[in-house]
């Protein structure tokens, strides 16, 4: 059970930078550097943060019919993707529940997937069973870095001018600081930025080159979580689980008209009913009125104290300057502006259902 945690190729660099480590999905990951989560968060929103996300799973599907096969596991429209295009989708179960969320990119010779660290073993099993083990390649020899923030483009373009030509949710093979990299214009912060896949052997040199840019500071998992929360983005295991469907999660936009009509993915019938009638509960933004943060599992109640839902992610939003949360509430309480209450350690606190994101997205065009 308590095996030594795995390390990413950047472990020594994190230690040198003074990182505090935390065990996450079996890896020793930097939760913060000496500047602390607040400053790392604000730095990412004002300049650029460099994140090590090498714990995530990078998987290649090499079969010629991989798109059709993958569509049997996810509600996303994979067939429509052109080379260099990427999208968010989810592995689902027969109840429409989410087994993992993932990014899928079509490349010239394969589909490139990025899956959550804690789910990659299960995802690989699912993929191998459906596509055949021979055409599912787990790239365990590759690292993944994210450079996020309004200064990310300028910092990265000094090493690789071509990245300026990438639109949001587009990707390409581009050399950076003499390293062969796969670069996408994407991220998990709500800011403009890039995710960069390189060979493990090149990861440290690339990270050092980027940290040498004036805009760039290292940022740990702590700020990664507060940044994605303010951006209204889901965390698997909290906001997405085997018991919540993409429709309930507000991710119906990831299911195209063709896929809604044709189905052909696990839980299709459940989701088709929810799409037609509206789901009985929905993921919403929750803004506490006071200063007390509402963490995951905080009960959401109505004015009479009756339960109407639960917080699934919550904490302090450094850019908002106060607590922010998201969670699932029943449909009668899901409209923005609805007043609700939060039961935090037995005390009731006023809050409101609000539209997300809490901080405006600033993606590239």
């Amino acid at each position: 059970m308590s095996q030594d945690p795995k390390q990413t190729p950047l472990h020594a660099l994190h230690a040198e930078l003074g990182a505090k480590f935390v065990r996450f999905a079996g890896y020793a990951m930097p939760v913060q550097y000496p500047t602390g989560i607040l400053k790392e968060h604000l730095h990412t929103r004002s300049a650029a943060g460099l994140f090590d996300v090498s714990h995530m799973g990078q998987v290649r599907l090499t079969a010629s019919d991989a798109d059709a096969r993958l569509e049997g596991l996810v509600p996303g429209d994979i067939a429509v993707l052109k080379p260099g295009e990427m999208r968010l989708t989810m592995f689902t179960n027969e109840r429409g529940g989410v087994l993992d969320d993932l990014m899928v990119t079509r490349r010239d010779n394969d589909l490139y997937l990025v899956v959550n660290a804690g789910r990659k073993d299960d995802d690989l099993e699912l993929l191998r069973a459906s596509l055949g083990a021979a055409s599912v390649v787990y790239d365990k020899d590759r690292a993944l870095l994210a450079l996020q923030g309004p200064g990310a483009l300028a910092a990265l373009a000094r090493h690789a001018p071509k990245v300026a030509g990438l639109g949001f949710m587009k990707a390409a093979a581009i050399d950076i600081a003499r390293c062969a990299a796969w670069v996408s214009r994407s991220g998990y912060t709500g800011e403009d930025g890039f995710e960069i896949s390189v060979a493990n052997a090149d990861a440290e040199a690339l990270a050092r080159a980027l940290l040498g840019e004036p805009e760039v500071a290292p940022v740990g998992l702590g700020a990664r979580d507060s940044l994605r929360l303010e951006a209204g983005l889901c965390l698997y295991g909290n906001d997405l689980t085997p018991d919540t469907t993409p429709v309930e999660a507000g991710l119906a936009w990831t299911i195209s008209k063709r896929r809604r009509a044709e189905g052909g993915f696990p839980g299709d019938a459940v989701m088709q009913v929810q799409l037609a009638d509206g789901p009985a509960r929905r993921r919403v933004g929750i803004l506490p009125a006071g200063r007390a943060p509402a963490r995951a599992h905080t009960p959401v109640v109505n004015a009479g104290g009756a339960p109407v839902g639960e917080v699934t992610s919550g904490g302090f939003g450094p850019s908002v300057g106060g607590p922010v949360a998201m969670g699932y509430v029943d449909r009668d309480h899901a409209k923005a502006g609805t007043e609700i209450e939060l039961d935090i350690r037995g005390k009731r606190y006023a809050a409101a259902v609000v539209k997300m994101p809490f901080t405006p997205h600033r993606y590239a065009k």
């Binding site: 607040l38 007390a292 943060p293 350690r345």
Partner: protein, 125 residues
Amino acid sequence: MSEVRFTKDHEWVRVEGDTATVGISEYAQEQLGDVVFIELPSVGAEVEAGGDAAVVESVKAASEVYAPIAGKIVEVNDDLEASPGLVNESAEDQGWFWRMEIADPDEIEELMSAVDYKAFLEGLD
């Protein structure tokens, strides 16, 4: 002279006559990181030694703060409501949490001295 004692849960207690001031240690604030909210006990509340008394919320997580000794809360640090960051800046002085009456002076004797607490911290690494 006032004397400062520490608990294994990283609270400190400064004894002045028959009252005690309580907060969390420099080590604790460092472990917690940026403090953003503190739920303080009510003035007049009776607390048990080792019982829940306050909650400190950092950007990372919520953590319980226990009463190092038994007694009645007589004052809380209202400055923490507007400036929870005082706990990070001055954990063992301006970032105090509450003052309380000392129900049983013997309980103070059972807590660690500053020297013992330092040795205890070294043993944690």
